[in-house]
């Protein structure tokens, strides 16, 4: 093997392998994103139970955000619970998410399932928290 003069077969194979590794690192994220968008993207409708005081500040069509400002979906329905003496109510949200074997994710890979506690804030700056009660998905394919 001579430097800068001749490449033999082994050198070429090594270079190809190295290029494959480098390409793997470079293109992993975009390829993963492409697969997610092509096969795993889903419409998520979920219901959060929260305090009635907080619920009064919701408006249908309004977006809610996580504490980092990432959208968690749009309010599509607001219900006050008569069973819980009007102290709590429910808000239904629609969002686009990802579904795989481990569950459903919205926003920046935030796991969502019944029992999950979510902290959120509204456009008005008001923040609150609630517990997810129902999660339904519908494939976007």
């Amino acid at each position: 093997m001579k430097f800068n003069k001749k490449f033999n077969f082994t050198d070429i194979i090594l270079i190809v392998v190295l290029l494959a590794v480098v390409c793997g690192f470079a293109f992993r994220a975009p390829i993963e994103k492409l697969i997610e968008n092509s096969f795993m993207k889903t419409e998520v409708n979920y219901v959060i139970e929260t305090e009635a005081d907080t619920l009064l500040n919701f408006e249908i069509g309004e977006d809610i955000y996580d504490i980092n400002g990432v959208s968690l979906g749009t309010v599509s329905k607001i219900d006050f619970s008569f069973e819980k003496m009007m102290t709590h109510g429910r808000v239904t949200l629609s969002a686009t998410g990802i579904k795989d074997n481990s569950g459903v994710y919205i926003g920046e890979k935030m796991f969502i399932a019944p029992g999950v506690n979510i902290s959120f804030k509204l456009d008005t700056g008001l923040s609150g928290s609630g517990t997810v009660k129902i999660v339904k998905t519908e494939s976007l394919k």
Partner: protein, 143 residues
């Protein structure tokens, strides 16, 4: 690599191969010094029980046999549900006991499942694809 008049010359490929070997050695050392070596740990099957005292009836049955359990913080798999028992509380919530089977490791006398520490009395923030809660480990046995 070329040996010319008793002088050894390295080319770019040799340097790259050497770098790969060095990385492999460093990775191996890291693996073993972190006490996570595949040969140095004892693997065994365990069954543990998580108790959730008060689950809303609406979601209490979202967990069932065969579900994969994940640690909520790390999202690593920490077992599979083998049995679930529900008991209705007077306040209409459910007391839920979840039996989970897993392959565990011994780390300096502590039981871990994929790096998640588990022991009797520990509170575990866990989830399945359809359910999320905090459970108290009330039973841990080696199978």
């Amino acid at each position: 690599m070329k040996i010319n008049n008793n002088k050894i010359k390295f080319n770019v490929i040799d340097i790259i191969i050497s770098a790969f070997f060095a990385l492999a050695i460093i990775s191996s050392l890291y693996l073993f010094t972190q006490n996570q070596g595949i040969f140095t740990n004892t693997h065994y099957n365990v069954e543990y029980t998580l108790e959730i005292q008060s689950v809303d009836q609406e979601i209490a049955f979202n967990i069932s046999s065969g579900d994969t359990i994940y640690d909520s913080k790390s999202a690593t798999k920490i077992g599979q549900v083998s049995n679930v028992y529900h008991r209705l509380n007077p306040d209409k919530t459910y007391h839920v006991m979840v039996n989970i089977s897993a392959n565990a490791e011994n780390h300096n006398g502590y039981t871990t499942i994929n790096g998640v520490l588990i022991d009797k009395g520990y509170l575990l923030n866990f989830r399945t694809p359809q359910f999320s809660s905090i459970g108290k480990c009330v039973e841990l046995s080696i199978k």
